[in-house]
Symmetry: C2
Subunit: 320 residues, 2 copies
């Protein structure tokens, strides 16, 4: 089965979540409403809600209960995008003008705060203190990750473990929590909670590594922004870490700064693509994916397990 | 009994909350830890925790349970101060260098996010979904208030209702929620929850109006920052709204902008102090206070009720 079929099968439930997202960010402030709806309409793959729904299938699935958890996770993701845009000076995100560019930094900061709070409010519609606890813990970890990411920018002396720690907090734990919270929201047996978390964690790591590869290999049209953005912004990702094992490359990459020329960034991208660092990064991504698939084998056999496998494989192989 | 006696009597419990605050913001990120502890050490009156403790006295008071709620409310207040500083370009807050000034806007934004998340995490240590729900709802309202405050800056055509709506969201609902959440965290009878909320709301309105008066009448030493800061930053507060009923004053105040001279601000402050607008603002503050005291009469008689009365009176009469 392919990924489109999973989305098709879940379509009516995803539509319910879209409605819930709109409701959750509805407010009495026109400017906030506008900013949030704008962001919602920009869309996205809704990976976190989909993972959450599939996690919920291991329990007593009721979309009108799990929708609150699914909306909550997507809102946290959206809030972090809004705040990232304040930080990254990004003008374009998902091909749309960012909240920050259209309004300004101040509104973007409070809009992010508001969406964060709306995420929590959505989750509290589920009467389960454990779910609230996991969500707030995930948020604190996410924030620590953001700060570490700022500290690590343009730091060319960092190691693989710095990168892995960063993407764990930035991406993997939110996908892990999505899978786990789906199970919890649906009252699934405790035995599957941790396994779903571990599965999501490994999928998340694989996902982010693939994302970081695509920032070099995908076209501007596919990315919705120029390639090499991470490099320009000082985010040292896996292909760059591998490339810096070569002394000459290390020196050249070490000169990159926020105002490096487009030609220089493109030249470095070409060098990366001509070397083995992209392939080596794919190998690392695949290792996390294999771990995720191995964990799946420990979950009860069934259609949802197959869907999770398909999603994991899609994430590992996606081209953009 | 005076206010000092209330603080003295609650001292050991406030110390427990201070420890909880430190623990709640403890993290593996040195920069975050440093930023948060810095903020904690700057102190503050801890009004929200104290109100919460007194609200909790109407129930089955256990400091080792209510401390999580008390820390949570103070953390939300702290987080909003951190984000306000990003917005206000404030260099000094409570006489200390702000997180923003010492680090920068980016770290301040994520430090605020982190403290928000830590606030929620602290509250989830109390097994009561209603408490979690009220907290997240309070946060969304607070964020809407922040956005409205930005929109209303330097808007000299606003009315009393705009001001009241703003201070309600900015200040009153957090104090209202403090009183209410104290009662909930201590399992107090449902009959007192709403009354404590209403009491806190009116105290909060009175408190903010007094705060806004003090921004004109207190000395730089008392305020820990130059007087007239609100005026300079475009926050139209009650004395200014009253002053603008006079056409000449309206025109003069309407020319104030972010780079108005110190002399001009001081001259306007003198005009305000020489008119009746300060006294009229005190009358409005006192009206809210009287409403708070009337609500208190509906609560069970006892020492805590007297303490709440003393705190309310202190807040209404404080000089700085």
């Amino acid at each position: 089965m392919n990924i489109k079929l999973i989305y098709t099968r879940l379509k009516s439930d995803i539509d319910i979540i879209e409605k819930e997202l709109e409701q959750a960010v509805g407010s009495t402030s026109p400017i906030l409403q506008e900013a949030s709806v704008h962001l919602l309409q920009a869309g996205g793959k809704r990976i976190r809600p989909v993972m959450l729904l599939l996690g919920a299938k291991f329990g007593d699935y009721d979309i009108h209960r799990v929708k609150y958890a699914a909306a909550s996770l997507e809102l946290i993701h959206m809030a972090s995008l809004v705040h990232d845009d304040v930080i990254d000076d990004a003008v374009i995100r998902r091909g749309e003008h960012t909240v920050k560019a259209e309004w300004d930094n101040r509104v973007a900061m409070y809009a992010g705060d508001y969406i964060f709070a709306a995420a929590l409010e959505s989750m509290t519609k589920i009467d389960d203190v454990e779910a609230h606890r996991i969500l707030s813990r995930t948020m604190t970890e996410l924030c620590i990750g953001e700060i570490i990411q700022i500290q690590d920018k343009y730091r060319y002396d960092q190691h693989l473990r710095d990168y892995l720690r960063r993407i764990k907090r930035k991406t993997a734990i939110l996908i892990a929590a999505s899978c786990q919270l789906g199970a919890i929201a649906a009252g699934a047996p405790a035995s599957v909670h941790q396994k779903l978390y571990d599965f999501g964690y490994n999928v998340g790591m694989s996902f982010q590594i693939t994302d970081d590869i695509l920032d070099f290999t995908a076209s501007e049209k596919e990315l919705g922004k120029p390639a090499g953005g991470d490099l320009l912004q000082g985010n040292i990702t896996l292909p760059v870490l591998y490339a810096m094992e070569n002394e000459a490359m290390r020196e050249r990459i070490g000169t990159v700064h926020a105002h490096s020329s487009r030609e220089e960034i493109d030249a470095i991208i070409d060098l990366l693509k001509d070397s083995d660092v992209i392939e080596r990064s794919h190998v690392m991504s695949r290792q996390y994916l294999d771990r995720a698939l191995a964990i799946l084998d420990e979950l009860p056999v069934g259609r949802h397990r197959n869907s999770l496998r398909d999603i994991a494989l899609f994430i590992g192989k996606r081209k953009y």
